[in-house]
Structure formats: structure tokens, C-alpha cells
Symmetry: C2
Subunit: 240 residues, 2 copies
């Protein structure tokens, strides 16, 4: 099995929580019970629970157990085919924020490489974010980011994008806070894909320039939301 056991277990638990099998305030099975249920060691069971804790789905109390945190459903309508999730939600009175769950370098999955039109095998950044709406864990966003991997470290910076295809006036916005820094980036919505289970997949390519007009990034980003707790409008929609 390529995927670690603790991932498999935490995903099963996460699924059960989403199905309502465990509701807010309910106690999850104890580590000992998980050990027997999945026939794993306590370390693996602990790691599975830790995954859920880091995602804000549960809180662990020593001596008592692990309990499901309250989730919140947010109804939200999109203002444009492009998803300015944070701006739109804020404008509609929903407090939007996100937390970085993981940022790593991984080999590009086939579908990602195809969407990005890059040669396989190649490496991409993988960023997982926990989206919060009104403070409640709303969705886990998974973004693949193609970038120059010559420099080894994640540039924890910012960038501004403009959207020439959208309007007569380019719309500069701050996006993907904490990922890439540059003063300008050409934006091109190269594709939009639907994936199973109502998940949305958005692809866009861009070129980013540094402050001295040097192109520093020829890249593409593909985003997909895993756990939708907000409803999408009738127009075309992506995420993040």
C-alpha cells in the first residue's frame, strides 16, 4: 500500500464524521479501540487521530478522549466565474480564513501534469489548506503548484495577480497569501474541470515577475476542494 496506514484510518474517520456518524460533541473511539478495530499499533492509531486534530476536526482531552468539534454550514453565492472566495465571503459577512496544513514537494500526479501541460515525471508543490468560514472548519483545499524548483525552499511570500481576460481593467488582488512573491503575474484561465463527487477542479497558468521585471515563475496552479461545506451558485465555479 502506497498510502500510510495512519492516513487511511484518519480518512475513514473523517468520512464517518462527514456522514454524521460522529456528530459534534461525540467521542471518537479511543486509541485502544482503534488499535483493535484496524489491527494497528498505538503509534499508528495516535498518528491517525493527530491528523484529524491538526485539521481542526477533533480536539483531544487527556483522560477523557477525543471529541468532534462543531462544524458549520455556510451558504454562499459566487459573484463571478472566478472564485474570489475570501473577498466574496467577507463581503457577504462571512469571516473567511485559512490555515496551512502542509506544504511539500511531490511528484506531479498524472491528471495534474496533464492539466498543467508539463512533462512527466515532474515535481510540483502540494499545499493543503484548511478553509475556515466563521471560524468553523469548512473545507480542506488541495492545491498543486508548478514552479521553479531550482530553489529548494518554499517561498513563503505573496503575489499579486491580474486578470486580463476578465475585464477592461485588470483586477489586482492578493491571492494565495503565503505562497509566491512577485509584483505582477499574468493570469490565464486555461481550463476548468469537474471531478467526481461534486468536487471542483480549477486550473490556471501564470507568469510571475519579480520587482526588477525578471520572470521568476512560469507556472500553473490547480486547485481542488475536498470538503465542501458551502454551496456553490448556478454560475460556473471553482475554488480558492
Amino acid at each position: 500500500m502506497a498510502t500510510p496506514l495512519h492516513i487511511t484510518i484518519s480518512e475513514k474517520l473523517r468520512h464517518q464524521i462527514e456522514l454524521g456518524q460522529y456528530q459534534a460533541g461525540d467521542r471518537l473511539p479511543s486509541e485502544h479501540q482503534l488499535m483493535e478495530t484496524f489491527s494497528v499499533s498505538r503509534i499508528t492509531a495516535r498518528q491517525a487521530v493527530a491528523n484529524l486534530v491538526s485539521q481542526g476536526l477533533v480536539i483531544a482531552y487527556r483522560g477523557k478522549g477525543v471529541f468532534v468539534t462543531p462544524q458549520k454550514k455556510v451558504t454562499y453565492s459566487l459573484s463571478s466565474p472566478l472564485v474570489f472566495l475570501e473577498q466574496d465571503m467577507t463581503r457577504q459577512g462571512v469571516a473567511f480564513s485559512f490555515e496551512n496544513l502542509a506544504f511539500e514537494v511531490v511528484p506531479a500526479p498524472a491528471e495534474v501534469a496533464a492539466a498543467m501541460q508539463i512533462s512527466q515525471p515532474s515535481e510540483v508543490y502540494l499545499q493543503k489548506k484548511l478553509l475556515r468560514m466563521d471560524g468553523a472548519a469548512g473545507a480542506v483545499d488541495i492545491s498543486y503548484l508548478m514552479a521553479d524548483l531550482g530553489q529548494r525552499f518554499a517561498p513563503q511570500l505573496k503575489y499579486q495577480m491580474t486578470f486580463p481576460t476578465l475585464a477592461q481593467n485588470d483586477i489586482p488582488i492578493d491571492r494565495l497569501d503565503g505562497l509566491i512573491e512577485c509584483t505582477h503575474a499574468d493570469y490565464d484561465l486555461s481550463g476548468y474541470l469537474e471531478v467526481p463527487l461534486g468536487h471542483a477542479l480549477m486550473v490556471y497558468r501564470y507568469t510571475a515577475y519579480s520587482s526588477d521585471q525578471q520572470p521568476v515563475l512560469h507556472g500553473a496552479t490547480i486547485s481542488r476542494a475536498d470538503r465542501f461545506c458551502y454551496s456553490l451558485s448556478t454560475r460556473s465555479s471553482g475554488v480558492t
Copy 2:
């Protein structure tokens, strides 16, 4: 020892990083080296590194090692004795965001209980946040929050506070996104303390009311920033 070993080790490493002993891009000692240096098992060494990873200070690459992420110094001036950090920074063109690192229930430390004027022993919420400025990990904020602990679970919501002591017009702002929900909260700056090493400690008390005018929280919050990467102005200053 009350504090776990892995905390002690990760704090030492964090200190060394802040001193510049390990700079951006540098490789941290390997797990094996940490084992020998601190005479601990690999689990403890791993846990110490994991703490730093979750704080965004380092990134681990399998087969290569653990590397320090680039940090960013931000110069920032406060607009008022109260610290509307997010608003002020945003206004000055600094992208401000934070990530929740931990949210737990702990017994109130003596200084916290004293500042909050609550009877000891008592429990308080402890929230640790990673503050990001322009996406770079800027500071770790530690907040103690006194609240009604009858309900066991962290209410991951939002609230609005007004500041009657500040101006003729109450200033409603969204603060502590993701912590408490209510429509109104009386605010009272009950004290301001300086702590060693240039760290700021701010205490305030408030009463929060739910939408049906029921008081749901009689509490106090004490905040302290651990890692200052931004400079404070000459006026009195707190954080978060």
C-alpha cells in the same frame, strides 16, 4: 520536569534559529544528531522537529533533511494604543494572516489568574497562533482566554467587540476570528503589563452577549507575543 523533553528541545532549536545560528536554507541537525546531542530517543527528537514544522519554521524533506524556511522582518507602526494588528498592517500594505496552532484547556498560570482576577485554581483556554506577515511566519501569539468552561468544546466562531472606553462612537471590529461568537461585547482595558525581553503582555476583560441578549461570556483575555519580527511604535502597545 514538568515540560516535556520534545518541547524543551524544539524551544532550544527555535531560539537558535531566532539568533541566526541557523539561517534560512540551513540544514538543522539530523534526528540522529539530535538523539546524541540531547540524549533522547528518536521519537522525542522527531517530535521536537515536528513542533517546528507545525510552526512553519522549518520544512522536512525525506532523504535530505530539515531546512529553515525564510523569515521576514516587517517594520510596522501602531495606530493606536490598542493593537488592531490586522487592520493596521493591512492598511500599511502588509498582508496579515494567522494560523491556529493549538487550542486547548489548561490550568491558569499564576500570572494569568492574577491578571484576570479569577480564583485559582481555574481553567482557561490557551490558544496559540502563528502570525504571518506577507506570508512569512512572523510571530507566535499565545493567548489565554477565560470563558465559561461548562460547555466542553471550543466554540469556533467569531465575535464583534466594541470599545466604549476608546471613543465617542463605539468601534465594532472583528477580532479573534474563530474563537467566540456573539453580537456584542463590552470591552475594558483592565491592565497592561510589560514582560521581559521586550515581549508585550496585554490584558482585557469583557462581557459578551448572544444574539438574544443573554450574557454568554464573562471573561478576560491575556495575550503575549513570543517572537517579535515586527517593531513596535513609541506609543503603548500590545499585541493581537
